[in-house]
Symmetry: D2
Subunit: 326 residues, 4 copies
Amino acid sequence: MNSWGEKFRITLWGESHGKQVGVSIDGVPAGIELQEEDFLTDLARRKSGAAGTTPRQESDMPHIVSGIYNGYTTGAPLTIEFYNENTRSGDYKSLETHPRPSHADLVARQKWNGYNDPRGGGHFSGRITLALVAAGVVAKKILGSGITYSTDIIAIGGSHRKEEFAEIIERARQAQDSVGGVVECRINGIKAGIGEPFFDSVESQIAHLLFAVPAVKGVEFGAGFKAAEMMGSQHNDPICDAEGHTSTNNAGGIVGGISNGNEIVVRAAIKPTASISAEQETFNFESGTMEPLVIKGRHDVCITLRAAVVVEAVAAIALADLALRA
Amino acid sequence: MNSWGEKFRITLWGESHGKQVGVSIDGVPAGIELQEEDFLTDLARRKSGAAGTTPRQESDMPHIVSGIYNGYTTGAPLTIEFYNENTRSGDYKSLETHPRPSHADLVARQKWNGYNDPRGGGHFSGRITLALVAAGVVAKKILGSGITYSTDIIAIGGSHRKEEFAEIIERARQAQDSVGGVVECRINGIKAGIGEPFFDSVESQIAHLLFAVPAVKGVEFGAGFKAAEMMGSQHNDPICDAEGHTSTNNAGGIVGGISNGNEIVVRAAIKPTASISAEQETFNFESGTMEPLVIKGRHDVCITLRAAVVVEAVAAIALADLALRA
Amino acid sequence: MNSWGEKFRITLWGESHGKQVGVSIDGVPAGIELQEEDFLTDLARRKSGAAGTTPRQESDMPHIVSGIYNGYTTGAPLTIEFYNENTRSGDYKSLETHPRPSHADLVARQKWNGYNDPRGGGHFSGRITLALVAAGVVAKKILGSGITYSTDIIAIGGSHRKEEFAEIIERARQAQDSVGGVVECRINGIKAGIGEPFFDSVESQIAHLLFAVPAVKGVEFGAGFKAAEMMGSQHNDPICDAEGHTSTNNAGGIVGGISNGNEIVVRAAIKPTASISAEQETFNFESGTMEPLVIKGRHDVCITLRAAVVVEAVAAIALADLALRA
Amino acid sequence: MNSWGEKFRITLWGESHGKQVGVSIDGVPAGIELQEEDFLTDLARRKSGAAGTTPRQESDMPHIVSGIYNGYTTGAPLTIEFYNENTRSGDYKSLETHPRPSHADLVARQKWNGYNDPRGGGHFSGRITLALVAAGVVAKKILGSGITYSTDIIAIGGSHRKEEFAEIIERARQAQDSVGGVVECRINGIKAGIGEPFFDSVESQIAHLLFAVPAVKGVEFGAGFKAAEMMGSQHNDPICDAEGHTSTNNAGGIVGGISNGNEIVVRAAIKPTASISAEQETFNFESGTMEPLVIKGRHDVCITLRAAVVVEAVAAIALADLALRA
């Protein structure tokens, strides 16, 4: 469904080429100072325009349409809308017979008997993540100024050397191709005791949201998949003071599904954008055989660049919900 | 919370050394043939006794206490209980002042102000996964006999060579240590169209449950973290027939969060058991300094061995819930 | 919270004098023909303008901003917005010190530490029911054309004689007072088997929504409170054919919380509008004593007139959700 | 479904003639002193044995099987079970062809395709309310000792004179009939600010649970249906002090869906027991015509007597959940 959260509940809607993308947030405590300007920094981090991002540019101006009075949240649902402006709905008809590989075109058509909005991916568009970034800004306000976020792209196309990233992306662009990457988000200041066993562990909640983000195909915490290679004596994080700090942090700040007061560390694997300009051979339902497909339109070469702030946003959303529940 | 699912809703309870571990399953369709014997095969896969598993042995007999009449499910809640028998509640008092590294001892005490049941990890014990395995059996019945499950341990301690696994585990045992591993679960026969955008993608639902399982620190689907290293032209899965089969399966059977009819592929990274017999230096809250800790009791050297069936069970639970919702 | 429903999930937002009132509906099946005109008939039934209703007139035009493509629902969230136009936000400051009796003024201020939007009742305004009426129209489309709704005002100010209603209301208006009433909604065509024991009985779901509607203070089904006066031999509804029809319908079409195929009958008691023009003595927090209060603004003498369609809408919403779940 | 609540979440199961009736309560704060004896007083109020109640007697001993350690709640799910002992599963086969009027026999069979447990009403039995009474005891502990409950039967068979009740019931018993009644529950000490707009008003939550209780056909708060007969000037409750006390309480302690600090007043109409010993004419599916039915077994003449504590329990449950959420 399109709602998530128990105390900080977000409901989102919208399509890539519809009228708007919006989010209504329930459970925002009253009395938080908030204005539209507060969203701009994080929205800018998600924006296109840099090398490797789509040339489609939207103003992405947030419009708060409920839940604010005299510059403060009221306790009533906080609703934020983004109007779609720069849409070019070309010939999406052809996608129905010649769906793009690794895109939702075909499954959406199957699931909704052909009634889905195919323009720009419809409700499956990455544009929906605007709503998450906006909700993330509110979540961070709830978590408070004592929490710091450090979010980084730690790999592109298999390389972990930052100085190579630009070149890797440029090579992909020239090849009319795309390339994946890994985002790491580190959050400091979350106190111990957040997380609700059994099912709503910190990891479960963050991973749930991350895997809702289009393009995320892997999630790990702390040592993550490396933990599977370790011995217990290496992996265990010795507690070294009365505050519960640990001398290592292989747990990524979470034990038994509960925050332990150390840095929360989460990584998300972002697949390469499915829409590439290079020709691809794939099944055509009209002809009944595989045929070359050339995808038109404006696409990101490396969506990882814009996904970083989304990873941070959903981590903040999950933590805000759990913090309000604790 | 201790409930999960919308149409197939499981609620679990129990402690390692309490009276029982139980699960009540709501939303089980009426008319499914079910008896206690049906649980035994999967329960046996979770059992200890093999090399690398704890010597604590429980009979793990399932008792169906509601929801069955004349050998069929009735549509009312199906409740299954496991009685705890072979418990040895030793001196858990010492854990309060000298908590085990990478265990929930400290966070549980902090979260519940010292009222948590510390015996054998209490509600944080891996013993709770009995409830998941039982629910998984029912989930598989709902998904039907057309679905096949292939679940494998694909790595232990960093090695991907199965013939080495036994030796790696034995070395860890001799070193009074533990070792992690990776479980891969492949599910065939899930039809296209399962999964509910935006938040309840197939990946989100499976990952949510997997990260609730103690010891899981990473989850990936299809190519997973490898996808982040790939180009779009490599990663995209060309559709090759009218059924939507793809010639590769980097997506792990899921696009846009929705099943596409290909094999579902999920992997979970299992950390090494936190309880090791070797001495560890960690903070003692009584003395106020780090001190050597020796953990007594019976523990698994490689919990991955017993976790495999749990991974399969939660994947089935998530898919059954989504299938009933679709 | 501001969301309700499991398969047909409505999320609403807005304030009386804010920018808009809106609703996003999740779970609407794809392929339902829908346009903005479809809402107008029911919206008109909720409108002011008749004798006994507020002179504040809004155009109440619905704007579908997501979930529609080519005139059909898409399976993605369906969002409908109503812009507030005819607002006169006078001096609501005084309500903070001199709150209106039987209004949410005081509790809202207490609950949200004075950050609530006080203009026109803010989020507590009856204007929010616009969202319910809109959702009700969609719910009726889902239930289908075989279902008929007969909704009536059966009492005003204690009188059950319809010919007296206008006069009772006019007398109340002249006395600068208001008057309550009872709405009865009868729904035909709901098949047997709707309703989810234990907690989500048909009665529970309808009553839950009805009691969320401002002004509803009593709800009953079938014989309702009269049932409490009856003997079992009078109250029991004999089954008289193989379709499960009953010769009486004291159950109001619901037994064991499940629809039995007979007419669903629900009644709601609507209290008199709390805002009356006549002077009232009530506590002033500034002076610290009870003082005369005169409420300004435009108010309904008999909100029951406009509540009828709201009762029908929420009954349809509850039934649509349960029908999709069954 | 068989779960309810957001912070105080109860999940129940069981059948009248199955092995047990049970409830697992999630969200119980850690550190509440609790033992099995604490349940006995309220359980006794629900017991049969008095004039007008069924001769079937159960020991109704509660068994706490999880969530307690050293006499205190632990923060983990609290599970309580009641074993069924005194069951006489006679010939329920005949109900399939000759279902009892105003009972769930027929709808249960329709809804679950004949797989429902018919013995003693199965999951539809009033015996399930044992779980509610137990959960109510825990809810009252959470609400605290400052809250007082006054629950009364205010009408039987249409009479409001208590001295007549015994005689009315005795007459019904002699006539092999049953009789309905009204329960009123008054709760003092609930502070202002409980209740979550829009959908989770205090009235919505209490009514939701009440209408899940078998036999409840009407619910009202404060003046209730009488409010519909009143003028605003009569019905409005003037605030008379800085604590928000009102000089009348037509609102029943709830305005805008939120508690206002005054006494919570709720009434429930209880229908006469559907199972009566007198012969009834109703459809026989085997013969295809209406035929006389004589219901055997042990039944309550006036279930209202035992329902009083159930009404109080569910009110406490709803308020505890909302109090934990506020």
